[in-house]
């Protein structure tokens, strides 16, 4: 007769331990099982968070172990919120965030809509389109610096070819007015496929019967698009926006590789600025306050957004 694994484990439990366990309630047993995970979660996530909050009220500098740590109250928060340079990095982040989301949603949805049509080579095109998101951001950043190179860059050459401009006459990553767009273009190139895949999943989840019913009702394609496709894909789109929004709010690697935050501080996003404060200037207390502010911002915005997402889903 075959013994099932649970019975086998029960038989293998030493009698003394079995007697002890027998007296435990279900709740206590549950705690024994989840305890290690809860402990790890507290140690790895919650404790560092609380510790960061505490550090944000001090003048602690990790590279100055011999210096006395003093409580400075809200002064770190006050300095950050009244620092004009930090507001400039916030503006740069907002510009990057908004434009990447707008472009990725528009292009991603359009691509998904096209790919969703049945045509020859559909699978091949899907694979080709998703290739950029499979690359490492460091690699992408590096090769786009070559593409943007004024003298030998393909990007400048193509722009020059279509506009008649001298390719060497402009530099995407050295010009203050162009650099914010340079990073938007690269991020859009890299991550539009991600939005496309999510939209594609949404489009494929719409039953054909709904469109067939609409056809019977003589609804035009345009009406079908606005009353069936868009509402049914909307939760997927919103999910994609949430993922990309959170990712781009903390964007670091790609932009560092592309522009290093320059020219000047034109593309210095908050995460780059935070890294400089924390690990180059070593102002740990100040950087902790900065991190707390960013955390609260992202958490707050994400919470509002998730509520909106749930409402859309409920409809």
């Amino acid at each position: 007769m075959k013994v099932n694994p649970v019975d086998r484990a029960a038989q293998a439990t030493p009698p003394a331990l079995a007697r002890q366990l027998r007296g435990l309630s279900d709740r206590a047993l549950a705690w024994i099982f989840v305890g290690p995970t809860v402990f790890l979660l507290l140690a790895i996530n919650i404790f560092p968070l609380l510790w960061t909050v505490w550090l944000s009220f001090t003048n602690y500098q990790v590279n100055r172990p011999n210096r006395a740590v003093t409580f400075v109250g809200l002064s770190n928060y006050q300095r950050i919120l009244t620092d004009g340079d930090i507001w400039i990095t916030m503006q740069a982040t907002a510009h990057f965030l908004i434009w990447t989301l707008v472009l990725q949603v528009l292009i991603g949805f359009t691509l998904a809509y096209l790919i969703n049509k049945k045509f020859r080579g559909n699978d091949l095109w899907t694979t080709v389109i998703v290739l950029p998101m499979m690359l490492s951001p460091a690699v992408v950043g590096n090769f786009w610096t070559f593409l943007y190179q004024p003298q030998i860059g393909l990007f400048n050459y193509v722009v020059g070819f279509f506009t008649g401009k001298d390719p060497a006459s402009f530099s995407m990553i050295a010009d203050v007015s162009l650099a914010p767009w340079a990073i938007v273009i690269v991020d859009t190139w890299m991550w539009t496929p991600f939005v496309m895949l999510i939209c594609l999943a949404g489009l494929r989840s719409i039953p054909d019967s709904i469109y067939e019913a609409a056809e019977c009702d003589r609804a035009s394609k345009w009406r079908q698009f606005w009353t069936i496709t868009i509402p049914m894909v909307a939760p997927f789109l919103m999910l994609a926006v949430l993922f990309r929004g959170i990712e781009n709010f903390k964007m670091f690697d790609l932009v560092v590789q592309l522009t290093g935050g320059g020219p000047g501080s034109t593309t210095e996003l908050t995460s780059i600025n935070l890294k400089r404060e924390a690990f180059e200037k070593w102002r740990t207390g100040y950087a902790s306050a900065y991190a707390v502010i960013l955390f609260v911002t992202v958490f707050g915005l994400a919470s509002i957004y998730v509520k909106a997402l749930n409402k859309v889903k409920a409809r």
Binding site: N59, N63, R64, N66, A168, F170, V176, G261, G262, P263
Partner: protein, 444 residues
């Protein structure tokens, strides 16, 4: 079967322990030296083979590319890591490393081994070894003398057609510039010119934003216009010295040079990008640290007499050049301190220092650089000597990183991004630096 499994496990554990012990024995006989990944580091690897042969100690090396060098190594020191026994750290780290106990103080060791700091180029002792500056407290042995200087295309400068055109335009010979004004004139002369069918540009200068690049470039000009870090009579008093009228003119000059005479897209260039631009024939002149000169000389396209070298040109307010280079220190968290000191003792020997220079390392030992044949030993040797005689360094305060990043931001914002005026940039820098010194308790 069960018993056999236990035996196998026991045997594996014994073998594992034996392996661990033998590897820790091997490690006791090993030294790890940390430095930047660049040409001189490769020369040091070769040089250190002599030390390995003499001492029986195996040398390991941890080299990190320059843009990440400070990040990586300061993290290592701050976390009291034991990766490095010896550190060839940047000159500006000395204050922080000394005050935070990262480096071993070497005074007693120097006294015991008869190593005298008087035997080294004074600027390198001040720059790489002393903290506080100007006091006989030594935390490093000057290891690699370096300074910002200039390289130029001697072959282009000697073309009769270009020389004639330049003479006609400026009324003087096309030659290595002696002043900053001449440097700019030459830069403008070459900018956009076609040479051998290729468009070339005036000069490659430091503009890098992320680490220290643009600061290491702009200071060469600021010093020569009269910029000073603080009132010489009143330390940490910055107003009117950092942002003096002369300093403002100096910063404006650097921006003008960037705007008029550099290749398009050179908005984030440091050592490697400027070398590439020069070696690929894009520019007539290149600002860079002296460490690149042996590589230029050996390059098949621009070496072998095609390039010349000149010290940073003088300006209206003086004649200085930005100090580079590093000292070698013993990391205080090392468990192999004696072996590390043994390496420094070996490295300080005149014969080793001579070999160091011959291998491409810039020795800071006076016996080497003041030897009769030194100035003619390499085409760039005299320029190196001339440049080392006029050096000035950035702050070496414990808060140097904050001071540096503030300057990087202010200067890059003005020079490359064109935000505000030179006066606003330097006024902003004074505010930033004052805040930092207040945080440090050095200013009220």
């Amino acid at each position: 079967m069960k018993r056999q499994s236990w035996k196998v496990a026991l045997a594996a554990a014994v073998v594992g322990c034996a392996g661990a012990f033998s590897s820790s024995d091997a490690k006791a006989n090993e030294l790890t030296l940390c430095w930047a990944a660049w040409d001189p580091a490769n020369a040091l690897v070769e040089l250190s083979k002599d030390f390995e042969a003499q001492s029986g100690i195996k040398m390991k090396f941890e080299f990190v590319p320059w843009p990440n060098f400070a990040d990586r190594m300061l993290n290592e020191l701050n976390s009291r890591g034991r990766l490095c026994d010896l550190m060839i750290g940047d000159s500006q780290w000395i204050g922080g490393a000394a005050e935070n106990g990262h480096y071993v103080k070497l005074n007693d060791f120097f006294a015991k081994e008869g190593i005298s700091m008087k035997d080294f180029i004074p600027a390198t002792v001040t720059g790489y070894a002393e903290w506080p500056k100007g006091t006989p407290n030594y935390w490093a042995l000057p290891a690699f003398g370096d300074v910002v200087g200039w390289t130029y295309r001697k072959d282009w400068f000697s073309r009769p057609d270009l020389r004639a055109e330049f003479r006609k335009k400026h009324g003087r010979d096309l030659a290595a510039p002696k002043t900053l004004a001449e440097l700019k004139e030459i830069g403008m002369f070459f900018q956009g010119r076609e040479i051998d069918g290729r468009k070339v540009f005036g000069a490659a200068i430091y503009t890098e934003r992320g680490s220290e690049g643009i600061t290491m470039g702009v200071t060469n000009i600021l010093y020569n216009y009269g910029f000073q870090y603080s009132d010489p009579k009143k330390p940490y008093s910055l107003e009117g010295f950092v942002n003096s009228e002369a300093a403002v003119r100096g910063l404006q000059f650097y921006k003008d040079l960037y705007d008029c005479c550099t290749p398009p897209g050179s908005s984030d260039w440091y050592m490697s990008e400027t070398i590439d631009a020069f070696k690929s024939g894009q520019v007539a002149m290149q600002m860079n640290f002296a460490f690149i000169w042996p590589g230029v000389e050996a390059d098949p396209k621009v070496g072998g007499g095609r390039s010349g070298y000149f010290p940073n040109p003088a300006g209206p307010g003086g004649h200085f050049a930005q100090l580079g280079g590093q000292g070698i220190s013993v990391v205080s968290y090392s468990t192999r301190r004696d072996a590390a000191l043994q390496y420094i003792k070996w490295f300080a020997q005149p014969k080793v220092q001579e070999k160091w220079w011959a291998a491409g390392g810039y020795s800071a030992l006076r016996a080497v650089v003041e030897a009769p044949g030194f100035a003619t030993s390499q085409p760039y040797a005299q320029t190196f000597l001339d440049s080392m005689a006029i050096v000035k360094d950035f702050w070496a305060e414990p808060a140097y990183a904050s001071l540096l990043l503030a300057m990087q931001k202010r200067v890059h914002d003005f020079v490359v991004a064109g935000r505000g005026t030179a006066k606003q940039a330097l006024d902003g820098l004074v505010r930033d630096w004052n805040d930092i010194f207040k945080d440090e308790g050095k200013k009220k």
